[in-house]
């Protein structure tokens, strides 16, 4: 037994930190209805701030701590509350997108403020040990962390249980309107929750950084360990979340006793994510989203209304029905095809190495398109889409042959791998939606990252594997231009197919499964088949994109497909416009621009700008496209010639921008949402 004790103590030590994080996550979820994907990023930001105050500027801990906990953390909490307040009651999709945006923004802002050099944070407790029993030593830092964590957890529990804040919180959660009427100030309660949660994050940050390293990505990732315990407490129970975290910490630690290398080590590292995925699948239908019943649509559905008499409308619908989508798609398809034709000539204009960057943009657009279909059209949020790209790239690396002569075979095999994986990641969607589905896909991405891509025989380990340029039917695509043209043609074919599908019966089916799954099922739609097919097909096309991604890069490592790449993909797609094919093209273009050799001093602002753009546009399914369209209309309405003035009509109402803009905006996004 005695040989287990050290591992149990280490497990309790880390588990108690995750417990604090889990409580912080639960606290804002149950009071505000926001699941904070950015929790780790907040902890990370606070840890860097503390490092700056204490280690860099040399302030004593007695000064730095109060500044962190009483000034920085509360300010951050207040800022977050202000950010989320206008989003109250919006769809899970919007809230997820915003919190992923916050994650990315904090991740981008820290290197800008604090620089990129390596650093370590000194533990706040002495690291010396004392003997407990005969063989076994405990560090003061471990003991101190455990004691602080328990004390703070107990304090929060008592606060919610025995004070007015607790009852107010419960009232504000159960029925915000009624609570307001009886004098509970919902805003105060929510602000307090955000502040408390952020203070917890600060504590987590400074407790965990000394052992996990003061590193942006590492800290963001580590706090995801807290998500499984939070789900274990059904995102509402603080004690269950805390206890779950302790148990998880101990189990992971005990496993590490046996796992030094190989598969077991990978599984050990991925255990929290496996636990998260399993918990979500098992708890399934019993998980309820906070405030789901009172959700409103993120976009108000306004439209210009019908034009023409009922007879004309009827005739037009008859025509559209008979001719199918051919009638409707003409104009947009023309624009698309002209654009495609012009794009074919890009190699003439940009012959140099920059053509590779443009090809990256094309391939990325293809990958982004799968997320548009999956999330924007079918309403299934995925934080794992780039994992399929990895599947494609590594498969291409293994099977393409030394000169890429088997590229086609590799692409087919990659898609064959991706299909069952797509079904696997889609399985939770049968019983979960919105937030819980997003969490399950995130767990899937982390599992792929840690268990599959980290294997040497899959990815070649840290050094990666090489991927040859493709050779198809004897045609070699080794040259930049030929590879570009190939990728462009594939993108064009997939985009046109997606567009045709969107306008036809399958597009309608995706839409109705998204709008009202229950109603769709009672009308005869098999939800299981529909969702799984969408996940599988989108995964397959993403894997196809992955084969190109690999061939383009010529060498791929597990880092290229880390879990966070899927988040980046989501952010770029949201920015471009998640309900539009052109949104995917914009996502690709933005990605391509990021690849350009821009000086780091400028380039470091790029991710921040993207994150802020996403936060601003989270509610807009057409993203930048909608923004551009709106601005264009606004400008056009000002530039329009004045109406001819009637003689002597001095009191004629002038044409102002107002009504025009209203009408322009009134063309609701979804009406014009057949996108290209």
């Amino acid at each position: 037994m005695s040989q287990y004790w050290p591992f149990i103590v280490i497990g309790l030590f880390t588990g108690s930190i995750y417990g604090l994080a889990a409580m912080g996550v639960v606290l804002t979820y149950k009071t505000v209805g926001v699941f904070n994907f950015a929790y780790g990023a907040i902890a990370m930001f606070c840890a860097f701030t503390y490092w700056q105050l204490h280690d860099s500027w040399g302030l004593s801990a007695w000064v730095a701590m109060p500044i962190l906990f009483l000034v920085v953390a509360p300010l951050l909490g207040v800022a977050l509350e202000a950010l989320y307040r206008p989003l109250a009651g919006l769809s899970a999709e919007v809230l997820i997108v915003v919190s992923v945006g916050v994650l990315a923004a904090l991740g981008a802002v820290v290197p800008i403020i604090y620089g990129k050099q390596d650093r370590t944070l000194q533990p706040i407790f002495p690291t010396s040990t004392f003997a407990l029993g005969s063989h076994f030593h405990v560090g003061y830092d471990q003991l101190g962390t455990l004691v602080i964590s328990l004390a703070v957890a107990a304090l929060l529990w008592a606060l919610l249980r025995h004070t007015r804040f607790g009852t107010s919180t419960r009232a504000a959660v159960d029925n915000p309107d009624l609570a307001d009427m009886v004098g509970v100030h919902g805003d105060n309660v929510r602000r307090s929750a955000w502040i408390l949660s952020t203070m917890f994050a600060a504590l987590v940050g400074i407790l965990i950084s000394p052992t996990q390293g003061l590193d942006v990505n590492q800290l963001v990732l580590v706090v995801i360990y807290a998500f499984a315990p939070a789900v274990f407490g059904r995102l509402v129970s603080l004690p269950l979340a805390y206890i779950g975290a302790l148990v998880l910490g101990v189990v992971v630690s005990l496993l590490s006793k046996y796992a030094n290398s190989g598969t077991v080590a990978n599984v050990e590292a991925a255990l929290p994510y496996l636990a998260l995925f399993a918990l979500l699948v098992i708890m399934g239908g019993r998980l309820k989203e906070a405030g789901a019943s009172s959700r409103r649509l993120s976009v108000s559905t306004r439209s210009g209304g019908g034009s023409g008499g009922a007879g004309a409308v009827r005739a037009r619908h008859w025509a559209v029905g008979v001719l199918g989508w051919r009638l409707r798609l003409e104009r947009k398809l023309t624009v698309g095809l002209v654009g495609f034709a012009l794009a074919l000539f890009i190699p003439l204009a940009v012959p140099g190495p920059r053509l590779i960057d443009i090809t990256f943009a094309v391939v990325y657009a293809l990958i982004a398109l799968t997320l548009v279909v999956l999330t924007g059209w079918a309403g299934q949020i995925s934080l794992a889409q780039f994992a399929f790209v990895g599947v494609g790239a590594f498969t291409a690396g293994h099977l393409s042959g030394s000169h890429g002569q088997h590229f086609l075979l590799a692409a087919v095999v990659a898609m064959a791998f991706a299909a069952p994986l797509g079904i696997l990641v889609g399985l939770p969607s049968l019983r979960l939606s919105g937030l819980y589905l997003a969490l399950a896909t995130l767990a899937f991405a982390l599992i792929m990252d840690n268990v599959v891509f980290n294997r040497g025989d899959v990815s070649g380990g840290l050094t990666g594997i090489t991927v040859p340029r493709p050779k198809i039917f004897g045609l070699s695509f080794t040259g930049r231009a030929s590879l570009y043209e190939l990728a462009l043609v594939v993108l064009g074919v997939v985009a046109v197919a997606a567009y045709a599908i969107r306008l036809g019966p399958i597009g309608r089916r995706l839409q109705i499964v998204r709008d009202s799954p229950l109603a769709a099922s009672t009308l005869g739609v098999n939800l299981t088949v529909t969702k799984l097919v969408v996940f599988a097909v989108c995964g397959m096309v993403a894997a196809l994109g992955g084969t190109f991604y690999g061939a383009l890069q010529q060498a791929v490592t597990p880092f290229d497909f880390m879990w966070s790449t899927s988040l980046t993909l989501l952010l770029l797609v949201v920015l471009g416009g998640r309900s539009l094919i052109s949104g995917a093209l914009i996502a690709g273009a933005v990605y391509g621009v990021e690849q350009l050799p821009i000086p780091a001093s400028v380039n470091q602002y790029f991710p921040l700008a993207i994150a802020l753009g996403v936060i601003a546009l989270a509610q807009e399914p057409e993203g930048t496209v909608a923004l551009a369209r709106r601005e264009a209309r606004r400008v056009m309405s000002v530039l329009r010639p004045l109406p001819r003035r009637s003689v002597g009509g001095g009191h004629q109402i002038p044409v102002t921008a107002g009504p025009d803009v209203a009408i322009a905006a009134g063309r609701s996004p979804m009406r014009s949402g057949h996108g290209l």
């Binding site: 008979v322 036809g504 089916r509 109705i512 009672t522 739609v525 098999n526 939800l527």
Partner: protein, 263 residues
């Protein structure tokens, strides 16, 4: 389908259905029948279990105990979509429109959902004909291009009815079709409903008009259209019979208390 083989019994039959949620008994040994060509009412105070009964009949909830027969087949284990395809259609008390599709596309999507192969583009001509027919019957052409999500409740209920009709149902389950409707809309709805039941609202003699089971609080509407009523209270059947019999029933008056004057 059994209908083509000359099934003569009730279209839809629930036998001894019990539904428990933990300690709460939402339905307690409820049985009811919907005969062909009839409009049957399911009434009772709020929380009596009416919507739960609809969910059980359409397969959205699996009952703790009991059996559902449809055209003589035991469908207790059928998933919702199979029941929908077989001809059981419903509307929802809280509107469940496809809010980001146009009214017309709501009906088109419904037809495509319920007809095999339609999602791959088969039978387009039939679809156009049937959807146009239902649009006309329910007077939906004036709002054909409007987004369903922006309609008034009254129009929304019409779209839900139209959506249900586009599945060519043999039985139509209407969950409070009259709530949120003003007097004129209610009268129009009542007229449409009777037209639907008399000739199916279409010109296909081979398609039998649907039977109807409806939950409704508007007693005037219920008395107007229903040929028989089943009354639920706290999950139990407390009365059944013709509207006039139910109106006279002492149990029903007691259950409704303040509502008694309305019955």
């Amino acid at each position: 389908m059994a209908s083509e083989t000359g099934w003569e019994g009730p279209v839809l039959r629930a036998a001894d259905v019990t539904m428990r949620f933990g300690g709460l008994v939402a339905l307690d040994d409820v049985s009811l029948e919907v005969p062909a060509g009839r409009i049957v009412g399911l009434i009772g105070p709020n929380g009596a279990g009416k919507t739960t009964m609809f969910n059980v009949l359409t397969g959205l909830q699996v009952p703790t105990r009991g059996r559902i027969d449809y055209l003589g087949d035991n469908i207790s284990r059928w998933p919702p979509h199979r029941r929908g395809r077989a001809g059981i259609a419903r509307t929802f008390q809280r509107l469940a429109l496809f809010s980001r599709l146009s009214v017309h596309d709501n009906l088109v999507a419904s037809w495509e959902s319920s007809h095999p192969g339609a999602v791959l583009g088969r039978n387009r001509a039939k679809r156009i004909e049937r959807v146009a027919e239902v649009m006309g019957l329910l007077d939906l052409w004036p709002v054909a291009d409007r987004m369903a999500g922006e309609l008034s409740t009254g129009k929304g209920r019409m779209v839900e009815l139209g959506r249900a009709l586009c599945t060519d149902p043999r039985v139509l389950l209407l969950d409070e079709p009259g709530s949120g409707l003003d007097a004129i809309e209610t009268a129009a709805f009542s007229a449409v409903l009777q037209a639907v039941v008399s000739d199916g609202g279409d010109r296909h003699p081979e398609v039998a008009p649907p039977a109807v089971l409806m939950v409704e609080h508007d007693m005037a509407l219920v008395m107007d259209v229903c040929s028989s009523l089943t009354v639920l209270d706290f999950g139990r059947v407390i009365a059944r019979g013709t509207p006039s019999q139910v109106r006279a029933d002492a149990n029903v008056r007691a259950a409704y208390l303040g509502d008694a004057s309305a019955v």
